[in-house]
Symmetry: C2
Subunit: 357 residues, 2 copies
């Protein structure tokens, strides 16, 4: 059942006032805020109706109204006015978000999001199913070499290997050729032990070099496929009235500090533009009375990521969504595949990172 225009106006007023003050909103305040041509008494009647329909609730009899998750949902879907960023804000974001490795960019973006929204920010990035594009072995001495893997998404991974037995540079060259020929373009689950065995025979490796290298390849593909996730600005929660209870804050911060939990948020498959999860809409128990706003970006080459913030359900969704969307847009632009050619010299388009594994 569709709400009347007036009810919508009232609901909007309640939500917006509550977002600002964190105090239950009374009929008189609504009247002023919504600039309605009717008395507080009339508004009280409407409030009762909105209450019955589940959009609002009272902390206790004879207190003002507070939006429910359903109320926020309607607000976000229909009532919210689009918030555009000010020139200052976009400029600040552009300023902070220039180049660097994928990791650095994500960290900067997270800090930026925290700074702009004053909520904890989280970033998650995941290659859908990474594969090796290019494979190299760098010979150092008879017992050591470096493995360098170029993955889809232009991520570079490396590992320094010391072995208790010796080998020749030539062996490494052959191994490198074999791996480039047979292990590129494969996702982790496509690599079988048969393949490793046949590679071993192809180079005549009797010492297990092949399996050391294959092990690293598999490990890298697995861990890169798993998302890289991090949080920043958790401490900001403590300033919010809804987290004055240290226990409550502890539970949430603790939950956020486990990257595993963050990756779970990617579970939601629809990488749309901005996604808002309000209170109980969150799968995780720990997030049930908080809200999460997520914006996704596309780094090209199968790499996708999320940047988001976690805050109380009482959140300025409009402003937060606008900011995150803008940041995510910047990330897509900076990381995305369709990268425009660099402007001039010294302004290089540089991808990849300093990953040491």
């Amino acid at each position: 059942m569709e709400l009347t225009e007036r009810k919508k106006k009232i609901l909007r007023a309640v939500v917006e006032e509550y977002i600002n003050t964190a105090e239950p909103v009374g009929s008189k305040t609504v009247q002023q805020r919504a600039a309605l041509d009717c008395s507080p008494a009339t508004i009280r009647n409407e409030l009762v109706a909105l209450d019955k329909e589940g959009y609002l609730e009272q902390p206790h009899t004879s207190a003002g109204r507070v939006p429910t998750a359903k109320g926020y949902r309607l607000y976000v879907n229909e009532l919210m006015r689009e918030r555009r960023l000010s020139a200052d804000e976009t400029e600040a974001i552009n300023e902070k978000l220039r180049g660097g490795s994928h990791e650095k960019l994500m960290a900067d973006a997270g800090r930026m999001a925290t700074e702009l929204t004053s909520y904890p920010a989280l970033t998650v990035s995941a290659a859908a199913s990474p594969t090796v594009k290019r494979f190299d072995l760098i010979y150092l001495d008879p017992n050591s070499f470096i493995i360098v893997l170029l993955l889809t998404g232009d991520t570079v991974k490396n590992k320094l290997v010391h072995l208790p037995f010796s080998f020749t540079e030539n062996t490494l060259k052959r191994l490198s050729a074999v791996f480039n020929a047979s292990f590129t373009g494969l996702t982790e689950n496509k690599i079988t032990s048969d393949m490793i065995n046949s590679a071993e025979r192809a180079v005549g490796d009797t010492m297990g070099l092949t399996s050391v290298i294959a092990g690293f390849v598999i490990e890298t593909l697995t861990s890169s496929g798993g998302a890289g996730a991090s949080v920043s600005g958790e401490a900001n929660l403590l300033k919010l009235p809804e987290f004055q209870d240290p226990d409550k804050a502890h539970r949430l911060i603790n939950y956020l500090s486990d990257p595993h939990n963050l990756s779970a948020l990617t579970g939601s498959p629809d990488f749309g533009d901005v996604k808002v999860l309000i209170g109980p809409e969150n799968a995780a128990l720990e997030l049930r009375d908080s809200s999460v706003v997520l914006a996704s970006y596309d780094a090209g080459d199968g790499m996708r990521g999320l940047i988001g913030v976690v805050g109380p359900t009482r959140m300025d969704y409009s402003a937060v969504a606008a900011k995150l969307s803008y940041i995510a847009g910047g990330l897509s632009r900076l990381l995305g595949a369709g990268s425009a050619p660099p402007a001039g010299f010294g302004k290089l388009m540089i991808k990849g990172g300093h990953d040491d594994v």
Copy 2:
């Protein structure tokens, strides 16, 4: 002026009781705890003396006693009984701490420290002055290549570079040779623009390839020299009675979340075994009513690092120091040049802060 035996016993009892309960300690409790052959009245007289000498204080008249920073300092320096780890504890640490990259090990060690002490753990690692040991360029296509640097400390760094102009594999080979010849073994401040220019001439590079690469080398040496720092388990503070005030907790967590602040802790140059900084002994204002316990490890090749925890001044210094010392010993063992077994491993030696206050 040296304290009498009895006063020391009393001080120890107060400190240890307060560590356990977080409540001011009364004369009667001291009597029981210290198993002294005198009445509470006698102990009260002694408490007054310890109070006057600055080892104890009262939150208010007619409350029990609480140790001052000076009291804790004496306790840590002289009164504390060495705590040895249980087999379970050492086993748990050995279990968690096996291999992996330096970063992974540090992260594991931090988590371990948080888990064992239930305080936030911090890790800081720094290469004294890293240099490049080996230099490689991997040709990908006419516009892209990967730079791979092997640094002292066996850290490998890489970067994928896309350029708006093209070059040949041969050019890269020559560049690689030149860099290996003239840029290895140099600390960041030894690299001059003259050197870069002459390298440029040597390969006949007119496009600025050389300066791109040199830029990365310098950037890498600079950022690796700067310490890598991180914290984990900040949320644990919120469970402590001294951080029930969200504002206080906020200030500290915020302070810890800036890696720059953590690196500052390395400032203290004496990498001894274990270092305890009690309350006002800390330089940072934000740490003035907390304590920090730091253990250092040596990863060989000029790499050194710290692992520590931050907690209330009311901290079980003995247990914390033992645990950190053991973890740091493990790190030295796993990361160290493999050569000498870390001296005094498992043995507890505490170097203190200043004797003022």
